[in-house]
Symmetry: C2
């Protein structure tokens, strides 16, 4: 264990040192580094794919399931897509140096807030190797050094990616030490990392609920965590039913395994008899399993294969082609249900009623609130933030999709001409 701890400490120290220079690195150098990385991801795909093949073979032999294997797998096309994401990050405005709340005080002091990097960011993640690229390029662009700790299953893939990133970045003038990859797979090492608040300014956990919880509970530094998404779409009595079908279909089916997918559909009783068969028909075609409350069941059971919802279906993140369905009698009932069962991620109302729309936006306490659109849009890329660090359901510091700005802090800059406090 001690060699692993020594490795960690030495890499953290090097990252800290690099972070001081990174904070003042010109935007052009950072962008050049990102374009170099993008280029290398394709020009050096051989070494990455070779490493990934070994990871995949070992995982397969170890009995990893299809879905997990697919998350682990890298292909030429996937590397190209990753390179494209990196180019997008390069094209985004540099958050560092942005000045806000600037003004001249009556005593002549010029005061402003200036955006600066956080310093050193630690990332702890599970099997998807693309996180190595996502996090390190976002950290680089935002002027932060990064310490990467990936999952054991993807060790070779992550190490190969980190090597490509590090070399491409340094070739462009990024200080050595800015991108650190922890080679040791000792589990206990994570606990050490979580106690290094003197060196690591922020921890980003990316992975399953268990990992996020473990990190949140044990970290001594702030944590930027992606939260569970229990997402509702409420179809109001005044909804345009065609839109309501398209949106609920998209929210559930377009990519059911992610946090912003629909989990529960709430339908106003005035339109339930018309609307439910319409959406059920589409969902049934797509293979969506429907867990209905009593009233929804009554409407659907004769024409569709539906199940009865149990109490556990409310407030559950399915991450699969399953939807809970409930009939409500009012917007208020929908709001209460969402307050009780939502996880503060993404919530939508489908309505043509202006006041209902405004009330929903105002009263639902969630990271993202929608009118007449699919909750699937909750995403850094879709929101124009570039590649995202994750989607936060906490309220402190960052909420919803977290991009470059969320990896920074600010300092107050005060320029005087001899002012003293009276």
């Amino acid at each position: 264990m001690q060699p692993a701890i020594d490795e960690l400490k030495e890499k953290a120290r090097a990252a800290k040192e690099a972070s001081r220079r990174l904070a003042h690195l010109p935007t052009e150098v950072k962008n050049e580094a990102l374009l170099n990385i993008a280029e290398s991801l394709t020009s050096r795909e051989g070494e990455v794919l070779d490493a990934n093949r070994l990871d995949c073979e070992e995982a397969k032999a170890g009995g990893m399931g299809e879905a997990m294997l697919d998350r682990l797998l890298l292909t030429s096309a996937r590397l190209q897509a990753m390179a494209q994401d990196v180019r997008t990050v390069a094209s985004l405005p540099d958050p560092v140096g942005e000045t806000f709340d600037a003004r001249v005080l009556p005593n002549g002091l010029h005061i402003e807030r200036r955006r600066v990097p956080l310093g050193v960011i630690g990332a702890i993640y599970e099997s998807r190797p693309n996180v190595t690229v996502d996090i390190s390029t976002l950290c680089l662009k935002s002027g932060n050094a990064v310490i990467l700790r990936g999952g054991k299953e993807a060790l070779r893939s992550n190490a190969a990616l980190a090597k490509v990133i590090k070399e491409a970045a340094e070739a462009a003038g990024v200080p050595q030490g800015a991108v650190q990859f922890i080679e040791s797979t000792e589990r206990a090492l994570v606990n050490h990392m979580l106690k290094m608040k003197e060196t690591i300014d922020l921890i980003i956990p990316r992975g399953g609920e268990e990992l996020v919880e473990m990190v949140t509970e044990n970290a001594t530094m702030p944590v930027l965590a992606s939260g569970v998404g229990v997402c509702h779409t409420y179809v109001d009595s005044s909804a345009d039913l065609e839109k309501a079908v398209a949106i609920a279909y998209n929210a559930k089916v377009q990519r059911p395994t992610v946090c912003n997918a629909l989990d529960a559909l709430l339908v106003h009783s005035d339109i339930a008899e018309h609307y439910l068969p319409l959406i059920a028909k589409e969902w049934a075609k797509a293979g969506v399993e429907m867990h209905c409350d009593e009233r929804a069941l009554k409407i659907l059971f004769s024409n569709f294969k539906v199940a009865s919802a149990s109490e556990e279906d409310w407030g559950k993140e399915f991450l699969a082609l399953i939807a809970a369905i409930k009939v409500v009698d009012s917007l208020d009932e929908a709001l209460e249900h969402i307050e009780r069962y939502g996880s503060g991620h993404s919530e939508a109302i489908i309505t043509e009623d202006y006041s209902a729309a405004m009330r929903f936006l105002e009263e639902v306490d969630a990271a993202c609130v929608y009118v007449n659109a699919s909750t699937r849009f909750t995403d850094g890329g879709q929101f124009g933030l570039g590649a995202e660090v994750g989607i936060s359901t906490q309220k402190f510091h960052a909420r919803g999709p977290m991009g470059l700005k969320e990896l920074t802090t600010y300092k107050w800059v005060i320029m005087g001409s001899g002012q003293v406090r009276p």
Copy 2:
């Protein structure tokens, strides 16, 4: 103990419920409530001063020192000053509802971030009763409910102030439950409070280092903490010495017991022989105890009563009329010293050299960085934020003086017309 826990739980529940209505309370109602509070602080000064007299008598009898007694003491003039601060908060713009980063995406989605309250804020503080007024009015203006847990010594004073605030606020239409004051003085209750992350969205500790540390280490929810201020003023070789004397004098003497007061003076060797006697003369008149490094000692010892600095003098927050003095040979040496010993609070350079000024602002990693001004300006009121919640030396969420905006979060509001994700 159980009755105290029950009281806490019931008050927290009531605060949570009130917070939902508070979040949507019109600005005029909140301002009206604040003006009512200001009015009541003077019109009902009798009951507050009576309560305070009992606290002070008991504290005196218990052997409380002069400085602490002065912090506990309320007077008619102090209440008037508090009322004036509350009027200032009323006059500040309402942070809630502020919209930023609004834009229309290519697919027609209208997207924006909208500022919203955090919810329920817990405050844990020590003997100064003015915190009761400061925190509760800042919470009210920012749409948050508040649970106040003050120090035992100020119990009667705090309870009287909280009663005045609560009644004045409710008379203006603030929902019942928005301002909660915990009457029990059981010490263990704080630990319960720190575990209530489901109800309390943020904890603000205000008091000594020990309290802040205890809260930071045990709280399960985010903490907005004021940090220790180890503040340096560096007098560069090109400094205007007259300004440098006025600023260092002000930073040390104007109010030595606070976090933004000067702790260490760094002086460039080129001007040390001219400058040090000038500032030492003024400081000596004000009774400042000077702890000098070897070179400063050599310059000053024949004409001034100075002491030799020990290693503990560097990086120490004196909170008293004591200053450490060190001669450095370059801006770089000053920057290194500040990086090593500063606490990331407020740091100043006195210089007429433009490049030195810019380098200092860029390279010093602190909440507030100054050129040619006293670090004593680090203050919410001075920065135009109104009464402040504290001064943060952490980097996450808020840095430096924390005012209304720092008590809020935001949500993403997305208005569509049927968009689905392709």
